[in-house]
Amino acid sequence: MSSLRYLPATIGTLVKLREQLQLVRRGKEILEMRRDQLIREIYQLLSEIRERERLEKEFLRIYDKVKELYMVMNADNIRSYARVVRRPELRLLYESLMGVKVPRVDILSEPDFSQVTDLAVHALAEELWKLLYRLIEITRKEAAVENLSKELAYINRVVNSLEKNIIPQLNESIHYVEEKVQEESLSEFVRIKKVRDVVQRRRG
């Protein structure tokens, strides 16, 4: 931007600089709008992520139940029941949220506990899967918040740079070119007057 100082101080330059300032201001406004949208989106996601604490408590409760189960049955038995569970199939994809890449987890097939013949194992496994499903969703949102926050930080840097650096420099350059143009037009006016006086004297 310091190169602006060496631009020819002409009306054309002034017009170009003004157009540039207008564009930068418009760009800044758009970025600010995008920043606000991102903040709104992040806040929305953050309120949903707050559920994690509750889910973790729930997870610990189920974990204690699993420990009890290990005590009542034994480890070999539980492993044997685990064999008849069809594992879930998951697919990790990325989608665009306001132009930001965020992960998405598709559940292609749910785990099948129908062959688990023990009631306690069956009930706990189902409970654990429901919880895991919600935890996967929360983790996805956390990753989205992380990516959105990175984008937000980048936009903030750009807006700050426009606000604190580019716009003042453009203003300064416009001011400088305006002064120069005014000076030039004034000297041009004086020169014309003097030429007119000389012409009138010769005629006279």
């Binding site: 009890e68 290990y70 005590m71 009542v72 034994n74 480890a75 008849v84 013949t117 009631l119 306690a120």
Partner: protein, 340 residues
């Protein structure tokens, strides 16, 4: 000979862990301390040379299971051949049953099973045969050839219902049927029959609850259920088909002998804490075994009750070790111990 067997059982019972041993084991603050306490009991020989810091849950189960087998072999070794066979089938057959169920589960989903996944017991079927069976059909064919007729019959129900529990229920029906068959050869079997009846009824009840939970019509699995059920099945069987899962405890309470199960079952079903169902049923069985031990202390029933007491001790020890290993507090472990 039977009297001698009973006397031996009385003698062996003295080697059981005492309430103060349980209290000390529960109070152990580390696995090392747990093993130190155990080394001053009848288990000292079983744990000798074990590296306590390296022993896992499965390894410990095998240690206590071997002790259980040792006790069963000792007592059945003194019995005449028919009775000895009955005692071994009763005590070890249930663990062979566990092996069969594990093999079934693995084969049903086309997975491999290793010998390490099975209880070290070979009564009618070698562990290698279970490992080497190619699939569910081959395993069931083998079972059919060994006389497991209810399990084989349940295959069709399994195919249409898609629930492996039907075959598992059939396996249990085979186990109890074979025990009742063998019992016919034993002269003074009255007290023994009582223990078997209670156990078979409890298993009948367990499977009824499982099938209700799975929304499977009991009429479809009536054959093995009928083979298992005794007094409880006769009294409440006609009503249980139409009953909801939550109504079962009230139905059970109609039979005086099983009335004490009502509260535990109601709580387990109401709170959907199904681990308590298995615990309540096992608890009832061991309670009855101790009742028989106190009442028939000079009859053959005492020996069968003794076997159940051995099993109870094995499960208790396993529960304490597992509880300690997974970091449960003593109060929580105590809730799941069977003590009478």
């Amino acid at each position: 000979m039977e009297e001698y067997l009973v006397v031996r059982a009385h003698g062996l019972k003295l080697r059981f862990l005492k309430p103060e041993d349980y209290a000390r084991l529960l109070g152990a603050t580390s696995i090392r301390e747990f093993f130190n306490i155990l080394s001053s009991t009848d288990y000292s020989g079983s744990i000798e040379g074990l590296r306590w810091e390296k022993i896992g849950l499965e390894d410990f189960f095998k240690v206590v299971f071997n002790k259980y087998v040792e006790r069963v072999e000792l007592i059945s070794g003194y019995a005449p051949s028919e009775l000895g066979r009955l005692l071994r089938t009763y005590a070890l057959g249930r663990y062979e049953l566990i092996n069969l169920k594990r093999a079934l589960r693995a084969k049903a989903l086309g997975e491999r099973i290793e010998i390490e996944d099975l209880c070290p017991v070979e009564l009618h079927i070698h562990l290698n045969e279970l490992v080497e069976a190619e699939g569910l059909e081959e395993l069931l064919y083998m079972l059919r050839s060994r006389g497991y007729r209810y399990a084989s019959k349940m295959y069709d129900v399994y195919v249409t219902s898609g629930f492996l529990g039907t075959i598992e229920c059939g396996l249990e029906a085979d186990y109890y049927s074979s025990l009742y068959e063998m019992l016919k050869e034993v002269a003074t079997a009255e007290g023994v029959r009582e223990i078997l009846d209670i156990e078979a009824d409890l298993r009948w009840l367990y499977w009824c609850i499982v099938f209700k939970f799975k929304n499977l019509k009991l009429t479809r699995v009536m054959t093995p259920l009928r083979a298992m059920g005794r007094e409880l099945s006769e009294r409440i069987g006609p009503y249980i088909e139409e009953a909801y899962l939550g109504d079962i405890p009230a139905l059970v309470a109609q039979v005086v002998r099983f009335r004490d199960l009502e509260e535990a079952l109601s709580r387990a079903i109401r709170e959907e804490d199904y681990v308590l169902i298995e615990h309540a049923l096992s608890s009832k069985l061991y309670r009855e075994a101790y009742r028989v031990m106190r009442r028939d202390f000079v009859s053959l029933a005492y020996v069968f009750a003794f076997i159940l007491a051995c099993e109870m001790e094995m499960r208790n020890l396993n529960a304490i070790f597992t509880g300690k290993k997974v970091g449960l507090p003593s109060s929580e472990i105590q809730r799941f111990l069977f003590t009478y």
